[in-house]
């Protein structure tokens, strides 16, 4: 039951990641703006990446207990 739930969550995260890291959502962040002096696109990509790692870690480590 728990394992099944974790599996579904991981699939959902995969789909979300695919959408966030591809056209068209990606194109929204390809702008000349530079918060903190760093291009928005670069911040966005690394932030999404880091977020994905955190969410996946939360899902799998939670199921481990």
């Amino acid at each position: 039951m728990r394992k099944g739930l974790a599996g579904q969550r991981l699939v959902a995260v995969f789909i979300a990641g695919m959408l966030l890291l591809n056209f068209p959502l990606l194109s929204l962040f390809d702008r000349p703006e530079q918060p903190f002096g760093i291009p928005l696109l670069h911040i966005y990509l690394f932030a999404v990446w880091f977020g994905l790692v955190l969410v996946i870690a939360w899902i799998v480590e939670r199921g481990a207990r």
Binding site: L10, V11, F23, D30, Q34, G37, I38, V53
Partner: protein
Amino acid sequence: MLPSWLVVGASFAYLMVLFAVAYHGDRRADQGRSVIDNPWTYTLSLGVYCTAWTYFGSVGRAASSGIGFLPVYLGPTLGFALAWLVLLKMIRIARSYRITSIADFIASRYGKSHVLGGLVTVIAVVGTVPYIALQLKAVASGYTLLVGDHDPALHPSGLPGWWSDGTLYVALTLAAFTILFGTRHLDTTERHEGMVAAIAFESVVKLLAFLAVGLYVSYVVYDGVGDLYSRAAQHPEFSGLLGLEGMQRMGYGGWFAHILLAMLSVIFLPRQFQIAVVENVNEAHLRRATWAFPAYLLAINLFVIPIALGGLLHFGRGEVDPDTFVLSLPLEHGDMALALLVFVGGLSAATGMVIVEVIALSTMVCNDLVMPILLRSRRLALGARRDLTGLLLGIRRGAIIVVLLLGYVYFRLAGEAYALVSIGLISFAAVAQFAPAMLGGMYWRGGTREGALVGLLAGFAVWIYTLLLPSFAKSGWLDPSFLEQGVFGAGWLQPEALFGLEGLDNISHALFWSLLANIGGYVFVSLRRAPSGAEASQGMLFVDVHRRGDGLPTSFWRGSAEVRDLMPLVARFLGQRRSEEAFADYARAHGVADALHLRADAELVHFAESLLAGAIGSASARVMVSSVVQEEVLGLGEVMDILDEATQVRAYSRKLEEKSRALEAATAELRAANERLQELDRLKDDFMSSVTHELRTPLTSIRAFSEMLLDDPDIDVADRQRFLGIVVSETERLTRLVNQVLDMAKIESGQAEWHTDDIDMRELLQHAVDSTGQVFRDRGVDVELVLPQAAPVLQGDRDRLLQVVLNLLSNAAKFVPRGAGRVCVALLDGPQEVRVDVSDNGPGIPAGMEEVIFQKFRQGGDERSRPQGTGLGLPISRQIVERHGGRLWLSANSAAGATFSFTLPLPAAGSTVELE
């Protein structure tokens, strides 16, 4: 510039450290204290994904296309989100059927086919040997850069002679390492703990070295990442790198294609399969790796863009090869120690990849290319040589040397050619061809051998045509006009714009066409016919691997075999000692003392075949096993029969389990019922003895006084009068008792008559207190009656309820102290029920007797202090109250008095209490 002896010395010192780590890992494994049995080591060893191509090439790609290098690392992150589903299944399958390489996986899945295994091996070798060459090239060019003899004037040939080429010695050292730790002995699981420990160590080294150079460039050479970006923004020629337009032809389609490509590669590259699946010690480690491996990739990519920008700002475009920025930036600023560290980091990235790739390839070459050919030769198959373990190890070691030398030769021949430097993604695209056959085989039962074969062939051919040949043409090895016009001058056959498809970069273009051909071939050819018996059985075993033991037989096999044939066969390939151990373990697990007494059933044959499969591949194992056992060739129908049988057996056993559970439950119920009956029987006996006892007491006194009257006619009138009075009162008592017993029996059997009247509880209580007034006055007891102003009318049997109240009052009267007793009767009017409390100031009910007093003939207290009574009052009262839908209980109890309460429900609007 660094002296060459220092660089060479540092490199070989580093390689010696690797040997030490691997040696330590193997020692610990032999002692049973594995260093790699931990999720962090597993995660780090997966870092073998990051090769020298990552280490040096990412910066180069970032310098030319900005963020466009990132999909190669985003893909694995997304892919690993699904690892818990896909990789886990792969690990289970590989473990269950002793699969040790991708070639074996595919061959085994499609009916243990030699041809498929061989084809996969060829694709893997063609796709990855150039990649090995690239690693060697990275080491070589790093070395020349470091010692500063990259000036073409000094070495017109560009490369030293092979005998003085350090790269050759690096390659040979790696071959020695791989042979030492990769083929130490034949292992049926193909696990190499020392090697994995060394790879994990290398992952740490390359990460630290890359972070060091990243921090150095960002914070020592420049004033932080923000500074780098703002400086780059001042150069209009670099502005493209800050957004997506820097990716040029790649575009969003290419971005997606690269993510997909990397996602597939991270599973299907031979080295990734080796580390992630074959070397996996414990499936649970995958859990941590699911997020920690992407985190590793994130960490190693943090400084790629800063380093690329730093290099571009310092050297400008076109002066220095961006691939070498990680080395040339520290060199340029005179930080030799850091440059050496970076070189060692690059060396670790290159050697890690080479070692694992070569082990994986050598297993494939040995099991799926050489063994099948050797088995064809009559001499070997018939067992001219008893022990083949030496031969097997020899083939493995030979394969390792050959693969490494092939890589070295390709590196020497290709030099700076485009075909070599661009091999990273081209290699990825080659292994992506395994995806349809692998994934299809894991999730679809319908795939057939021909389908997989056609798919792989088609995909491989398209890959050669659209990626490999164009890379040769760009290197000048083929006529470049081929690129423009295609073969035979047919314009629509342009390799990088097949059928006129344009607007994609070459990788995405090739990936699309090759996967289209591959998947199309696989699906459509598979659908031409139903799977054969062998394909269907393997398909079932692979697809339903999570369901094993749940209606799935361990193997689909029918025939007859002899243990004394199977054991020597296994021993020939595994060695006498190891095979005896394996069979002894199997016998122990099946409760048989001697392996020779085992029954050679389907399970044992399957066991022997898996043992062999671990050593020589599943297809060869099948051939060998079938050479010593008599077996039926199973068609699809028979496979289905076996499956049905197994499912039925499983279903029957489940039914049996259910039945036995039901039986147990029934037994428990019966036991409980029996106990209850015995209890009732005991109660009945108690009841009988109580009743007779209670009847005998008055009878005895009646008889005694009657006899006295009969025997002595001279008794004076006063005494006679007194005696007769006693007789009468005892008779009354007897009558009362008999009445109560009858009453009780009637109520319990439901035969009592109930008369429903409207009852005003105030009036009823008043009446009860009035009628017992004389008794209380005799004993000097105060009775207090607390009544509300008005009480609702409820319905019930007035006489019976009166009986209840009288009973409670007479009980109270019996127990309160004479002369100082106080009894309080209170009526409480609630919204749904009325409640009557009868409290006294008697001694209370002894502890433990609170419920006993409601049982028949049970009275509180000991025999002597017990006042007169039948012991039926409270049980009858309770029956009556419950019959009215209420409750009677002891609501307060202490040494200062007891309170008995009962409630009666008020009739709901429009309905009446039905007593019957």
